[in-house]
């Protein structure tokens, strides 16, 4: 059940990237899609147990620590990419005056002619 909901998040994310014309919405949707895959991994890790993977007195029912390590990396990567995307969006706004991707592409196509 949880995984179906997360799959829905993924579809919303990718759909938002395709359907929303505003650049900021696209970037947010991309971030949502990325986060949904991260949540999928975390759900997988939580099957093994539910306690934080900190070893106090012997191993108990901890979540899978590998998954947590991998997802920390993935989250960092996602943050970097989102930050860079936002910088590019700001620069595009300064040059073209609009955040609407259709508008920007129309101007670029006109320049190309």
């Amino acid at each position: 059940m949880n995984e179906i909901l997360v799959g829905l998040l993924f579809v919303i994310g990718i759909g938002g990237t395709i359907l929303k014309p505003n650049l900021l919405y696209k970037i947010i949707s991309l971030s949502i899609a990325h986060s949904s895959v991260i949540i999928l991994f975390l759900l997988l890790g939580a099957r093994a147990g539910s306690e934080a993977p900190i070893l106090t007195d012997g191993a108990r029912k901890i979540v899978d620590p590998t998954v947590q390590a991998l997802m920390l990396t993935a989250i960092v990567v996602g943050v970097c990419v989102t930050a860079l995307a936002l910088v590019l969006a700001v620069r595009l706004y300064r040059i073209y005056g609009t955040l609407d991707l259709g508008e920007i592409e129309k101007r670029i196509a006109e320049e190309e002619q």
Binding site: I27, V77, L84, A85, I95, I108, E111
Partner: protein, 605 residues
């Protein structure tokens, strides 16, 4: 110990950034050069260990196999590292000789090279993801260096499409981890072989293929390439198109053995020739010089993909196609980088002035035009040049499938496209405003982000008025600049910029002259077992006749596209600009199609 190959470019990058903060750009350039050269020297230390098919494994940090970071250096990877890092050394030399890139560009260049080396060495799947992302981040910034609106758009387009692809890749890793519980490639392969091809594995394969396809520009996932490679500065285009794109092929080689029971070879049989055909037709349609080269990169990646189709269940390592595909990759990397670097030299050429057209330029720089000829003929696939042997072996291997005619069509269209490219180059005029863009303040120079830019490359229409206005904005680029005495700029800046292109051209020729010897060296180095004891004859009369036929077909096609009616029809098609949304939809659609196909037919019939 192998991790030193990844560490050296990273150390160079750090040193370059440090030199940038103390305002010593020359130190940064030197640091970059030293680190790239040191990587090559370090890699050559392992040559004797790897000859004949050996491999070296390393677990980084002492965490061993199932969950740790594994690095593997085998013969294929070694050749890849030597070739690709070597070519990036030449491209780096070009950047340094041009002289007006800030050290930040050096930093991201070295980061990209480090990511690429890590990708080739990676032995576990999550490490591949991380290296892909390192490579991507460096590439996004390198594309946007010019600072024009179009460059930012190209970078953002690449970013969004690549992130969508990498999200699919991560999804694939998720399914594989859920099914097998391990991350190392060889253990995943064993586990899948034990379980058989479940639908979950099929979806994982589709997702991973979608991810790799987005990086390596297979057919539905190619939407970012034309804009990104044409808007980057010329040496960066050379890096992206010649070097980084080819590293995607290595990832495919590593991934193929994981899914041994799936009908991936059927997919590649269809996708490879179609990608090649699509890329070649795309090259025929566009009019921008750099876009033609970019679309031709897609075509070449399609040819490399067709090599996988001939496997039919055996691993790539065990056949002649591995050596041939490696050969083709090498020649494509050399030729494509050569062409982009030559474009860079031509567009920033400052010789005796006034230079009104490239005809005069070619007369003054005959060596450069020779280099361009070598590059073009190598890409087209003429015998005695680099592109011939690999293409020959691959198309022979793909000969019996019904899609092999696409490969022939792709070759014909490539010939026509390059004829067109040569004539575009011949009639173009340098000193166009756009190509001076990077001298006027790029992304890292932080100048004037409000500039509303740029007319892109046009064929022959030239606005002198624009140029005048431009020249008045920044006084340094005057008409007199091209009359400047070459001695003032120093030997290295004037002549050093030619050296990388010369070396690359020599490489193209070397790769093509003794193909049987070269293929024999490769196969013995990789320790391949061949079915027949020798390499099939490459210069057989049938092959030469076929090449003649392709050439003539290409010339005919080119004349056809010059007809006014055809030109008008193509122009109407060209006006449709394929936006980012359709490209993302194509990636999604490609994934769904792959997943559906693999779900329905997991095992080849």
């Amino acid at each position: 110990m192998i991790s030193i190959l990844v560490l050296l470019p990273l150390l160079g990058a750090a040193a370059a950034l440090l030199a940038a903060t103390i305002h010593r750009p020359r130190l940064a350039y030197a640091a970059g050069f030293l680190s790239l050269a040191a990587t090559l020297v370090a890699a050559s230390c392992w040559r004797s260990c790897l000859a004949g098919g050996g491999a070296i494994h390393e677990s980084v940090g002492g965490w061993s196999e199932p969950l740790g970071i594994g690095l593997t250096l085998d013969g294929l990877g070694w050749i890849g590292i030597i070739v690709l890092v070597g070519i990036s050394l030449f491209i780096y030399g070009h950047i340094v000789a041009e002289g007006h890139s800030p050290p930040s560009v050096v930093f991201f260049f070295l980061l990209a090279v480090a990511g690429m080396v890590g990708l080739i060495l990676a032995d576990d799947i999550f490490n591949m993801f991380v290296m892909f992302e390192i490579l991507s981040l460096a590439s996004y910034l390198l594309i946007a260096v010019k600072g024009s609106g179009r460059a930012f758009y190209a970078s953002l387009r690449y970013l969004i499409l690549s992130t969508v692809g990498m999200t699919f890749f991560l999804l694939g890793i998720f399914v594989l981890y859920r099914e097998t519980g391990v991350l190392s490639l060889s253990l995943i392969a064993e586990a899948i072989r034990a379980r058989g091809a479940t639908p979950g594995i099929a979806v994982a394969a589709a997702a991973i293929l979608a991810g790799i396809g987005t990086r390596a520009a297979f057919f539905p996932f190619h939407g970012w390439l034309a804009e990104a490679h044409s808007q980057a500065p010329h040496p960066i285009s050379a890096l992206l198109s010649g070097v980084l794109l080819n590293s995607g092929w290595f990832v495919m080689v590593r991934m193929m053995p994981i899914f041994p029971l799936l009908s991936l070879s059927t997919i590649f049989e269809v996708l490879g020739p179609f990608t090649a055909f699509f890329g070649a037709c795309g090259a025929l349609l566009v009019t921008d010089k750099k876009k033609i080269l970019a679309m031709s990169s897609i075509a070449q990646m399609g040819i490399l993909l067709t090599a996988f189709a001939g496997m039919g269940g055996t691993e790539l390592q065990d056949s002649l196609l591995a050596a041939a595909a490696l050969y083709q990759m090498m020649s494509h990397a050399l030729a494509k980088s050569l062409l982009f670097l030559s474009l860079g030299i031509l567009f920033s050429a400052e010789g005796p002035c006034p230079i009104r057209s490239f005809r005069e330029l070619f007369r003054q720089m005959p060596l450069l035009s020779l280099c361009i000829c070598v590059g073009v003929l190598s890409l087209v696939g003429l015998p005695l040049f680099g592109g011939f042997p690999g293409k020959r072996v691959i198309s022979e291997a793909a000969g019996d499938s019904p899609f092999s005619s696409f490969l022939g069509g792709a070759s014909v269209a490539t010939v026509a496209a390059f004829l067109r490219w040569c004539f575009l180059l011949w009639n173009a005029s340098p000193h166009r405003r756009v190509d001076r863009q990077d001298e006027r303040g790029n992304l890292f120079g932080e100048r004037d982000a409000k500039r509303n830019t740029t007319a892109p490359h046009r064929i022959a229409e030239e606005e002198r008025g624009d140029q005048e206005a431009n020249l008045s904005e920044k006084g340094e680029i005057t008409e007199g600049a091209c009359c400047r005495n070459p001695k003032e700029k120093g030997w290295f800046s004037t002549w050093g910029i030619f050296l990388p292109s010369l070396f690359l051209a020599c490489g193209c020729l070397l790769v093509g002259w003794m193909p049987r010897l070269g293929l024999a060296v490769f196969t013995s180095f990789l320790g391949l077992r061949l079915e027949s004891e020798e390499i099939p004859p490459l210069f057989a009369p049938a092959a030469l006749l076929e090449t003649m036929g392709i050439l003539m077909g290409g010339v005919v096609l080119w004349r056809v596209t010059l007809q006014p009616r055809v030109e008008a029809a193509l122009d109407r098609f060209r006006r449709r600009f394929f936006g980012l949304d359709s490209a993302t939809l194509a990636v999604m659609g490609g994934f769904v199609a792959l997943a559906a196909f693999l779900w329905r037919w997991p095992i080849p019939p």
